[in-house]
């Protein structure tokens, strides 16, 4: 390389350090035209006009819990085949019609709900709704498609369970909630292999129901007009029965972490969790800010400590995970085996410190600005807004919450954030798992304590 300056010379200019400019005046987001209504079938429809590009984003959420031991396997096969053929279209015709409108539809299921999401050019919305209605009212579950998807699913489950993040998630769910249906995120391969097409058709008839479900449409659309289109397109989707929600979850109780062996792993997964509260609780805005200060963004105490100061991890994070009737705190980091115990020690230290050395006024101002700005940037595009509305409607809230939340965040005091820190972040409230090379980790974790080694 050519001759160059020394690093010290590069980091110096004749003018010297400069002042960071202040923020300007912020313009609020424009109010978006919106219709929020419940159809005769019991389906809630929320249509919002956001027309920066000629596209439409669609989210349909159907409560989809079941207590049958084989529900998870059947639901998973259903999600993988609901769009593979109807009374009117085979799998390839579905794909062709969607492709020609620049569209996509995808179905996924978790222990709580079935979600069908998609998008298309706004000029193709009537086709998108027609394909959706067709699947909802006449999904055929052809034997051949069910058989092939079932086989692929068995392979994909094997693939998923080889991912350390999935191993850690399953271990955490068992450790937090035992056998509650909420833990059944991925079915057992043998159960999937035994699912018959007829069982999937029966499940569809009994559980793919409009009452209690929510359809969200965001994009270049006329909200009033689109609700009429939905009423017409989904007119045949009806039932007196309501879709099934999950039973109440027990609260997460603090206790020892569980060491889960993964022989030969070069990196460990640390996952800590504690009970929290959701968006409908008056303490939520203060909890949201306390969580950001702890580990919810890059400039948080946890990330600055274990990544930027100590280099233990590429990413560390603390987030609120919304559960059927509330929320939990979830802290995660992946670390090299040799620093896993040290990283856990620092996590506990930062938890304790958040309670005792509470977030300062400037820390609270920083997270407040971040939370308000993040709300603005993440809802400034169609998929982002649709995803936000999906989360809000699942706890009975709507677009008005998005409009009002900046004000709620502005009103939270430093004192309230400190109280939330004390109430929710005490180290003894947490439990969790450590996944990694147990032989290598056990001596240090044993010395540190608070970890069940077997």
């Amino acid at each position: 390389m050519s001759p160059h300056r020394m690093a010290q010379e590069i980091g110096r200019t004749p003018a010297g350090p400069r002042e960071v400019p202040p923020l300007g005046e912020q313009r609020p987001a424009a109010d978006l035209g919106c219709v929020d209504t419940v159809l005769e079938s019991g389906l809630r429809v929320l249509a919002v006009r956001q027309a920066a590009v000629p596209m439409v984003e669609l989210r349909l959420r159907i409560p989809f819990a079941g207590d049958d031991a084989l529900h998870t396997a059947r639901a998973e096969v259903l999600a993988n085949t609901v769009l593979t053929g109807t009374a009117r279209r085979d799998r390839f015709e579905v794909d062709t019609e969607l492709a020609l409108i620049g569209g996509e539809l995808d179905a996924r299921v978790d222990p709580e709900r079935l979600r069908i999401s998609g998008s298309s050019l706004s000029s193709g919305l009537s086709t998108l709704l027609d394909v959706l209605a067709d699947a909802l009212t006449s999904a055929a579950y052809p034997e051949g498609e069910v058989g092939r998807e079932r086989d692929r699913l068995v392979e994909r489950i094997a693939m998923a369970r080889s991912q350390p993040s999935v191993i850690a998630r399953e271990a955490l769910q068992r450790h937090r909630y035992g056998e509650h249906p909420f833990t059944r995120e991925i079915p057992q391969p043998d159960d999937v292999a035994g699912v018959a097409a007829e069982q999937v058709r029966t499940l569809h008839a009994a559980a793919v129901l409009p009452r209690g479900s929510v359809l969200i449409l965001v994009g270049d659309l006329d909200p009033e007009g689109v609700v009429a289109d939905v009423r017409r397109a989904l007119g045949d989707w009806s039932s007196d029965a309501a879709a099934t929600g999950l039973p109440e979850l027990p609260d997460v109780v603090g206790g020892d972490l569980k060491l889960v062996p993964r022989p030969g792993a070069v990196q460990s997964q640390l996952r800590l969790s504690a009970q929290a509260v959701g968006r409908t609780d008056p303490r939520y805005p203060a909890l949201q800010l306390a969580n950001l200060a702890f580990g919810g963004y890059f400039s948080s105490r946890l990330v600055e400590n274990i990544r930027e100061d100590k280099g233990y991890t590429y990413h560390a994070r603390s987030a609120l995970e919304f559960t059927p009737h509330g929320a939990t705190l979830l802290i995660d980091a992946d670390t090299a085996s040799e620093v896993t115990a040290a990283a856990l020690l620092e996590m506990r230290y930062e938890l304790g410190r958040l309670c005792l050395v509470r977030p300062s006024a400037s820390e609270v101002d920083a997270v407040r600005q971040y939370a308000i700005g993040a709300l603005l940037t993440s809802s400034a595009n169609q998929p982002g807004l649709a995803t936000q509305l999906d989360a809000l409607t699942s706890v009975g809230l709507g677009p008005e919450w998005l409009r009002e939340h900046p004000e709620r965040l502005a009103e939270v005091t430093t004192e309230q954030v400190g109280q939330a820190a004390m109430e929710f972040f005490a180290p003894t409230r947490f439990t969790g798992v450590v996944v990694g090379d147990a032989d290598r980790l056990a001596p240090e974790l044993g010395a540190l304590g608070g970890v069940s080694l077997r």
Binding site: H4, A7, V53, G102, G373, N381, P383
Partner: protein, 435 residues
């Protein structure tokens, strides 16, 4: 396409600027693309371009370590950076009230970053954790982007691992950083892009104020990474201790993405015809009709199209069941390519691909972050940010004959095949150097 109006200017120090005002939402995106990626890093310093990207966040003459992140986030914004074969980008997306602050932050690290031993050591550790997370400790880590070029290409810039070997990363010095900065991070070697809610006059004024006195240095001469295409089928077996199923990737050379754009787009459409959607040729055949495979994809560029200059890679990847010989699956791929070479695809088949591309480009435009980065990378690689608004038209103009010609050029006697063999048996060995 909802084209924003575009304004371009060049400062006296050579910094190129793209402005794309749009007041739909009160947010702005700011990015800087430097014309250096991992293909330009020196031999013996694999992974250096990416390591250096991390160091650009670690403080400057005006800002302490960590201050950059704090200023962006306490303005309500988000940030990141990423290293590509031929460029490195840095960006912020923020409420529009923070525009001047974002410009200050980018100018500040372009002018005088603080490159210290302490930050270098810390970020080598962070990068090693990133590699453990994304490559060493996960199934199919680095597949195919790290391992396929090592088979398809012969020369160091094209073939080496852009994430880096641990031994190379550990040997990086502060002086390497100084040399790299002075060579490649000159304003004349960069493009600044601002998109979103602002007025052009105000942006010009702020850009001149903050970037105007960044000292001019010469841009490095443009580099030529061309090398001959392989003269045979090259194969390599890569054991993966975490992979549950066998897989392979086939890599081919393709036309120059910049100099032969129309021809390149033929390959882009071919990738869609082959593997985009249930009705695409390979998905239909491998996943649904014959049920030989679990997953199949095809693409122009290992990170997506419009990411690199010549030479660029066309790839097809397949994950398949262990009881199906990989060569049988490859035989099906070859048969489908031969069928397309013989008989061009139908008009409707192409209409499907072009409509999905139009929708996908609208989607990118809708997300301010991808819009900002797309404008910047096209300005850097093509000298034409406005190309972003011409792409849907150019893609829909591709003819069946062009797609057929692209398929014909993907010849079995000039390609690379990387085979992933599951090698998990509980005695995993850490790769990539030191533990």
């Amino acid at each position: 396409m909802a084209a924003s109006e575009l304004h371009k200017l060049t400062l006296d120090n050579g910094l190129r600027v793209v402005l794309a005002p749009d007041s739909t939402a009160p947010v702005v995106g700011v990015s800087v693309h430097y014309d250096v990626g991992f293909r330009s890093e020196p031999e013996g310093r694999t992974g250096f371009a990416h390591l250096f990207e991390h160091l650009m966040f670690q403080g400057s003459e005006s800002l302490e370590k960590l201050a950059h992140f704090r200023y962006v986030q306490s303005s309500g914004g988000m940030f990141n950076g990423s290293t590509h074969p031929d460029y490195t980008d840095y960006f912020e997306v923020l409420p529009s009230a923070a525009l001047e602050r974002a410009l200050f932050l980018e100018a500040d690290r372009m002018r005088a970053p603080k490159l210290t031993e302490e930050n270098l050591t810390n970020q080598i550790d962070v990068v090693k954790e990133e590699i453990r997370l994304n490559v060493l400790n996960r199934p199919y880590g680095g597949f195919p982007w790290i391992y396929l070029p090592q088979v398809l290409y012969q020369t160091f810039p094209n073939a080496h691992n852009g994430y880096g070997d641990f031994t190379d990363l550990e040997q990086a010095t502060v002086d390497d950083c100084a040399a790299f900065f002075d060579t490649f991070y000159a304003p004349a070697n960069a493009v600044l892009t601002v998109a979103g809610d602002f007025t052009v006059d105000r942006a010009r004024e702020l850009i001149e104020k903050h970037f105007g006195d960044v000292t001019a240095r010469g841009a490095p001469p443009s580099r030529d990474f061309s090398e001959p295409a392989p003269q045979s089928e090259l194969r390599h077996i890569h054991p993966d201790p975490h992979a549950p199923l066998p897989a392979f990737a086939v890599g081919y050379r393709m036309p120059d993405p910049v100099g032969e754009l129309d021809s390149y787009l033929g390959y882009l459409v071919l990738a869609g015809v082959l593997a985009e959607g249930d009705g695409s040729r390979l998905q239909q055949r491998l996943l649904h009709r014959d049920a030989l495979a679990t997953d199949v994809s095809a693409g122009a560029g290992l990170f997506g199209p419009f990411e690199a200059r010549d030479p660029d890679t066309f790839s097809i990847t397949v994950v398949h069941a262990p009881n199906v010989p990989g060569d049988d699956v490859l035989g099906v791929v070859d048969a489908e390519l031969a069928a397309l070479a013989e008989t061009p695809p139908g008009e409707e088949e192409l209409a499907k691909v072009t409509a999905r591309w139009a929708a996908s480009l609208h989607g990118e435009h809708d997300r301010l972050m991808s819009r900002t980065l797309g404008l910047g990378s096209l300005e850097l690689l093509y000298g034409d940010a406005g190309l972003i608004y011409e792409l849907p038209g150019k893609i829909s103009a591709i003819t069946p004959a062009q797609v057929s010609a692209a398929a014909k050029s993907l010849r079995p006697d000039s390609r690379a095949i990387l085979v992933v063999e599951p090698a998990g048996n509980g005695d995993d060995i850490e790769q990539g150097g030191a533990a």
